[in-house]
């Protein structure tokens, strides 16, 4: 599957409770590792039962940093310390509506699983997978089995976000989309939320940025949001996100803070 590695991890407690949009927080390296931060990854799938009990799947981009490289190198029977499910899942519609699902790079991990849930609720699912190139896309083939239509979009930053947004705008114009589900880095999500705004369509965003603990302890994953009363404050991306309504997030402030 190209540049990414796909791991299936045995974790019955997590698998039984996990829903699309939730994450696992993983300790990196062994006892002699120089890496201190955990990595918090979106769950790509959860199977409550299996040969070894429940499993969760994650997708790793080993090219990202030393910690991801370590995760990528894990082999069968290796053990990792994992906490989950972490955070808020994608809220699902109660009735079968038309939805648009978009995901970028390895952050798109949950979209296939989400699309299956949406389909099971009777939604018509339109899915777009984006990434810098073909090697950095998650499961296109699996996606075609689930979604009504699958579009692939490749291109380099910073254009990728704009291209994706343009594609979403076209969809919103030409179909009866009730909600957009998105998964990606903040820089890819912000333009999508922006184009959806005039349509009054909510974008449920799984904001995949660094979460060094994934347990709410460190406060380093804070995301600036606007509450209903317009007051700006911050919430913890790991425990109170990662799925947030796009119109609530202060994307400009977030972009500045991410540097």
């Amino acid at each position: 599957m190209g540049a990414f590695r796909h791991h299936t991890l045995v974790a019955p407690d997590i698998a039984d409770r996990a829903r699309p949009g939730q994450m696992v927080s993983v300790a990196i390296g062994g006892p002699a590792s120089a890496l201190v931060s955990r990595r918090t990854l979106p769950i790509a799938a959860a199977s409550p039962s299996g040969t070894y009990g429940g499993t969760v799947d994650v997708i790793v981009d080993p090219g990202l940093d030393a910690g991801m490289a370590w995760l990528g190198d894990l082999r069968a029977h290796d053990e990792v310390a994992m906490i989950g499910p972490v955070g808020r899942a994608y809220p699902l519609p109660t009735s079968g509506v038309d939805v648009l699902v978009v995901g970028v790079g390895a952050s798109a991990a949950p979209v296939g699983w989400l699309a299956a849930h949406l389909r099971d609720r009777g939604c018509r699912v339109d899915l777009t997978l984006a990434g810098p190139d073909d090697r950095h896309l998650v499961g296109v083939i699996e996606a075609r089995r689930i979604a009504g239509s699958v579009t692939v979009l490749t291109g380099a930053d910073p254009e990728l976000g704009a291209d994706l947004a343009a594609r979403v705008r076209t969809q919103l114009r030409t179909s009866e989309i009730a909600v957009v589900y998105a998964a990606g880095r903040a820089r890819h999500l912000a333009p999508v939320v922006e184009v959806a705004r005039p349509f009054g369509v909510v974008v449920q965003c799984c904001v995949d940025e660094d979460m060094p603990c994934g347990t709410g302890l460190c406060g380093s994953c804070e995301i600036p949001v606007r509450a209903d009363d317009g007051m700006r404050h911050t919430i913890r991306g790991c425990t109170e996100g990662a799925v947030l309504r796009g119109d609530r997030v202060d994307w400009a402030a977030l972009a500045e803070e991410l540097g």
Partner: protein, 317 residues
């Protein structure tokens, strides 16, 4: 838990176990309860509170360094003006005794936060106060208070005036100074009940792509296992100063790089009465239980029956 005694007393504060959650690394305790690890900590320290809420000037971004984390020392903070006696951020069922950390940029700021805590009946939920002396002094070229005996002393004295005498004051120092004992002495004279070393040490990393600082170089600090030898050395120096009479007797709390029972035993042997865990809990929220168990084991192995028996033994010949 076992036949080995683990209770310690620091400046009047009794800790069931000599392991404390460090400021900024345990939030206000609610997450510890959710994770079910609250009982492994004798107390927690809150993220540093300021007089007024400090919004994220920068995201409190953490960067990985070798065996460490680089974090901004100036972080978004909760303002004491927002505290409501009926809804303290640390008011959750099961949270261990709470030591409130104070930050500011003038001694007046600190006094204001401390006074704010007296309002209403807030103090009843405060087991102690910790002073983040790594905060920078607006009146001294923005150098940390902990770099200067005079600055540190003034802050401790102002906080001491504003806090009821029954509430212990923990002065949190920086190990990366030329003469730690001198600063410590000022804090003790000004009324500190205990000394905590070390705050993160000054550090800098550049973004490999842009070759620009990832965090403001004036206020970014290194935490994590990389600090362990620096922390142990600082505790050793302070304890040695007490033994030689250069520093009045005062309990010490070790923080910086401690992540195992063995590390904690070393900290106690060097002279600490308790340890704080910071990044260890970010790396593994179950770390406190392992630290307590390892500490108990270290006591047992030596034929002792109380953790107090370890304190300072590294200095005996």
């Amino acid at each position: 838990m076992s036949d080995i005694g683990t209770e310690v007393e620091i400046g009047g504060l009794r800790l069931r176990v000599p392991v404390i959650g460090a400021a900024g690394c345990v939030a206000f305790g609610r997450e510890l309860v959710r994770l079910g690890v609250q009982d492994d900590l004798g107390a927690i320290v809150t993220p540093s509170l300021t007089a007024r809420t400090r919004a994220a000037a920068h995201r409190a971004v953490l960067r990985e360094a070798p065996s460490g984390l680089l974090a901004p020392t100036v972080r978004p903070s909760y303002g004491v003006e927002r505290l409501r006696p009926t809804a303290l951020p640390w008011d959750h069922e099961g949270v261990p005794p709470v030591i409130v950390s104070l930050a500011g940029n003038t001694s007046g700021d600190f006094a204001e936060v401390a006074s704010g805590l007296r309002r209403g009946s807030l103090m009843r939920r405060v087991a102690g106060v910790e002073i983040q002396l790594a905060s920078v002094d607006a009146k001294n070229s923005h150098r940390p208070f902990a770099y200067d005996e005079f600055g540190a002393t003034k802050v401790v004295a102002r906080v001491r005036e504003s806090v009821p005498s029954g509430v212990p004051i923990f002065a949190k120092l920086c190990a990366d100074v030329t003469d730690l004992v001198e600063v410590a002495r000022g804090c003790v004279k000004a009324g500190a009940s205990a000394l905590v070393v070390t705050s993160p040490v000054r550090g800098l990393l550049l973004d490999p792509a842009t070759l620009r600082p990832v965090i403001d170089p004036a206020s970014s600090g290194l935490s994590g296992p990389a600090l362990l030898p620096i922390t142990l050395r600082a505790v050793w120096d302070l304890r040695a100063a007490v033994r030689s009479g250069r520093l009045p007797p005062i309990p010490l709390v070790a923080v910086g790089g401690i992540r195992s029972g063995q590390d904690a035993a070393a900290a106690l042997a060097a002279g600490a009465s308790a340890v704080q865990l910071g990044t260890a809990l970010l790396h593994d929220p179950d770390a406190a239980a392992a630290v307590v168990a390892g500490l108990v084991e270290a006591v047992r192995e030596r034929g002792f029956d109380h953790v107090l028996d370890l304190i300072g033994i590294a200095h005996d010949h």
